[in-house]
Subunit: 134 residues, 2 copies
DNA sequence: GATTGTAATGTAATACTATTACATATGATC
DNA sequence: GATCATATGTAATAGTATTACATTACAATC
């Protein structure tokens, strides 16, 4: 039985930074946050992000060119995660909706399209932000 | 009754370039294609793209940072268009799948999230490319 | 313990994508 | 023809991502 290798130093730094953030961070924002830790070049961040994404610990938000720590317990299961992005407060909600997955799979089947990955991102105003101010 | 204004020169150039392409084009690819026509700066392309997107004549593919001419007859109707992107040949198929829209709307309703727009992009191998070579 | 192979790291340079700021032109309307 | 909104042109800069190359760390094997 193979055990998942431990995260390396840079990978841990990047993941911790993302996990501590309420909103998605760009690679350069992560870099800036980690300069005190000794990181100096974009590539150090991009490389860590790549590995973290492979493990499903981090997701890239395509419409923002930014990254979030995975919010799901077990993301590996379905490769079709969706994100709800609030335009006001910037928070991102990660979710898996069976009907969406079914719909996309259905289309793919009908058109003999082999899905490798998906980006499903809705943008709008979250419940907190649409509530009248206290 | 207001009539939609005609496209401007730059808008027409950009739209024609996209319509003539089999695959999505980046803003800079469009610019390069239109240098002979006199375009010189990225902004000229971005401005045209912005107007064309407002009219639903062009879509942005978020996961590619690129643009396509609208393939649908009447895109305006549903704001939830999906794209199937072939990793091999680069072609993009535009489609609206009721079930996907329902699924996302459902989640949004349950979470009091007001959807303003969506990016739904699946990537994989299209039917043409998965057929065995002749 | 030296050797070898692999993954991770460090650094610099560069490529690609997008926006801000400011100046000018064009066309419709009054 | 003065005014207003829209479209254009140009330059500079900001933001995102990759290529290329050199080095280091570490585990497996000899």
């Amino acid at each position: 039985m193979t055990v998942a290798a431990a995260l390396t130093k840079n990978q841990s730094l990047v993941l911790d930074t993302l996990a501590a953030s309420q909103t998605p961070l760009s690679a350069y924002a992560i870099l800036d946050a980690l300069r005190p830790e000794g990181l100096r070049a974009p590539l150090q961040v991009y490389r860590a992000l790549e590995k973290l994404q492979e493990r499903g610990l981090v997701h890239r938000i395509e419409s923002l060119n930014a990254f979030v720590a995975c919010g799901h317990p077990h993301c590996q299961e379905t490769e079709m995660i969706a994100f709800a992005i609030c335009e006001r407060c910037g928070t991102v909600d990660e979710f898996a909706e069976e009907k969406v997955v079914e719909g996309l799979s259905l289309w793919a089947e009908r058109h003999a399209f082999t899905i490798q990955k998906a980006a499903i991102e809705i943008r709008g105003i979250c419940s907190d932000c649409s509530r009248p101010a206290a």
